[in-house]
Point group: C2
Chain length 329, copies 2
DNA sequence: CCTAGCACTTTTTTCATTTAAGTGCTAAAT
DNA sequence: ATTTAGCACTTAAATGAAAAAAGTGCTAGG
């Protein structure tokens, strides 16, 4: 357990470093806590021995280590209440009664991304939790039609397909079969059921049944199993630790690719706000992911905010708490 | 008019510079054309006076100026026929009979982006050319429903809306009215017609008509007037002239934002392949946009490839020609 | 236990020097 | 009238030495 003074020093170093990314020396801290810089140096040495601080070179000031951030988040950070301005911006979105929940969430995370300069993500429910609810088709012209898929969690997608020598009747009949026989199936198992339950039936009365089956099969396998929305993709460029390092930027951008992100956002078991610092997450050792699950009615998902390790933890956690509250009621 | 030799020298400089971004000196060129470096220097001086070449500093080799690229594209460039490998990759996409045209285009431009390391864009027909064809609704639950909008050009979008105390009947009736009365209207005028032709009618028999009207109004104004697909957004980071300049990257990324891009892609009147070098385009003085309109049946749009000014003009133009051919037949 | 003080380390900045690449121009050669 | 050899000159990039800045660790005394 750290002493009161050590806590104070660590907190100050973390917060100063978050404000501006320069190693923190003993002098500034000594002024702050009214003791000599030598004393602070001794304490810093101790904090370094404990693995909470690091030096960038032998005679540099200290920067927080990953463990240092962890300790800060777990023990030192005080939640700020949101400032009025931020709150106002978000209220405008939340007050809009006409937006579907998923749009409210997406829009407010867009706002957060802009005000914080971090990347934000909304993930819908996982694929095996998304059950096929309904399929609809809208004919576009002779050969093309749009297939709309709705899941029980309210995830909607549409895809265009092209069919030759298949009548609209045949399509509608097939859709009817799908809706009757396999709605309720987890999306990622629909392909299978399509093959073993639908294909044999339509084989009997649809001439181009192979083609029709293939088209629907592809629509369902293309279905983005999980709804994904990434906002402020290139906000990372605003962060000094990245903007000076193109290679880092590239790897992070790749990890933020639409499909990629799913693998990289942690799966949480509970509903609390989680902070994954550096190597604790799957994206990059230099980023922190702060995320939480939300659940309102039958809609659920995860919202995440991704920034540098020196992100404004207190402010972000405050924001997410506020988001969660507002979503869930 | 340039002499034969000047053409040769300019061509060589442009092509060498495109291969690797270093100023080209007189010595390499002299070997290539069998005359002394002094002669080449004289010619280079002349080409510079004509505004086709530039120096990066008084004693540096030459790099092509914007006019130099222009001259190269207009007079010197020889179209390469596509290499077999590139062709094969694209054929796989084109051969897929089941993909709707717009998906074929999007997927093949994705392939091109990957193989060239340039950003690619597909724009659909312009908003006032997109006429509302059909509106459909799919109820999701008590309060939420999905509205699907289809235009005559085959542009489909869906949006979720939330309605309180509005019955499904009322919604369906309203949709029926829209389909009967204002389908055929350019998308960007639908808002108006909604207000003056639909609102008065539903005012009579829908209790929450204000709410219902607002919801539909928003759906239509949110409709992305022009279908936009941007692939390989951060391929720019692979280009040396950008990866060393974060500020440039940021401005280019901003110009490549979804909605922003529409303003920045030139409007062409004819169907030829157009090359917009540096200041000739609206994106950035350091990029070149090569684009062409396509039209097949009632689907039309523009495809564009965006890269550095030193992009591989011959290869890209070849690719676009090939794309156009394949799309239009 | 705290702190003044100092030797020491490392990075950053500055400046001078050298090297490499390439030019423009002159005068001779073709 | 062109072409070319040759050389003085320019600039950027690389190298290196020296000084300045920031900060540390440790010792010895309060």
């Amino acid at each position: 357990m750290l002493t009161e003074r050590q806590n104070k020093i660590l907190k100050s170093i973390v917060e100063r470093y978050i404000k501006s990314p320069n190693p923190v020396g003993s002098k500034v801290i000594s002024k702050e806590i009214n003791c000599s810089s030598a004393t602070v140096r001794n304490e810093m040495g101790e904090l370094e021995r404990l693995g909470l601080l690091e030096k960038t070179h032998t005679s540099s000031g200290r920067v927080p280590s990953e463990a240092g951030y962890r300790y800060y988040v777990d023990n030192l950070m005080e939640l700020k209440k949101m400032n009025a301005e931020d709150m106002l911006k978000l209220q405008i979105v939340f007050r809009n009664q006409q937006l579907a929940l998923s749009d409210v969430i997406t829009k407010s995370l867009q706002v957060i991304s802009d005000m914080m300069n971090y990347t934000t993500v909304v993930l819908g429910a996982k694929s095996h939790e998304n059950l096929l609810k309904q399929v609809e088709v809208i004919p576009i012209d002779e050969e093309n039609l749009t297939v709309i898929i709705v899941t029980d969690k309210g995830h909607v997608e549409h895809k265009n397909i092209k069919l030759q020598d298949v009548s609209l009747e045949e399509v509608r009949k097939t859709v009817g079969l799908i809706n009757n026989l396999i709605s309720g199936t987890p999306i990622d198992e629909v392909g299978n059921k399509l093959e073993f339950e639908i294909k044999p039936i339509i084989g009997n009365y649809v001439k181009q049944h192979e083609q029709l089956y293939n088209a629907f099969y592809n629509v369902f396998t293309d279905f983005t199993n999980q709804e994904i929305n990434i906002m402020g993709r290139h906000k990372m460029l605003e962060q000094p630790e990245f903007s000076s390092n193109i290679e880092k930027i590239k790897t992070v951008f790749n990890k933020l690719e639409d499909q990629e992100i799913i693998k990289n956002i942690e799966e949480d078991n509970d509903n609390n706000i989680k902070v994954y610092i550096g190597n604790e997450n799957n994206i990059d050792s230099d980023v922190t992911v702060i995320q939480t699950k939300f659940k309102k009615g039958n809609e659920e998902g995860t919202i995440a905010i991704i920034g540098p390790k020196r992100m404004e933890y207190d402010r972000v956690v405050g924001l997410l708490e506020y988001m969660k509250e507002n979503i869930e009621r």
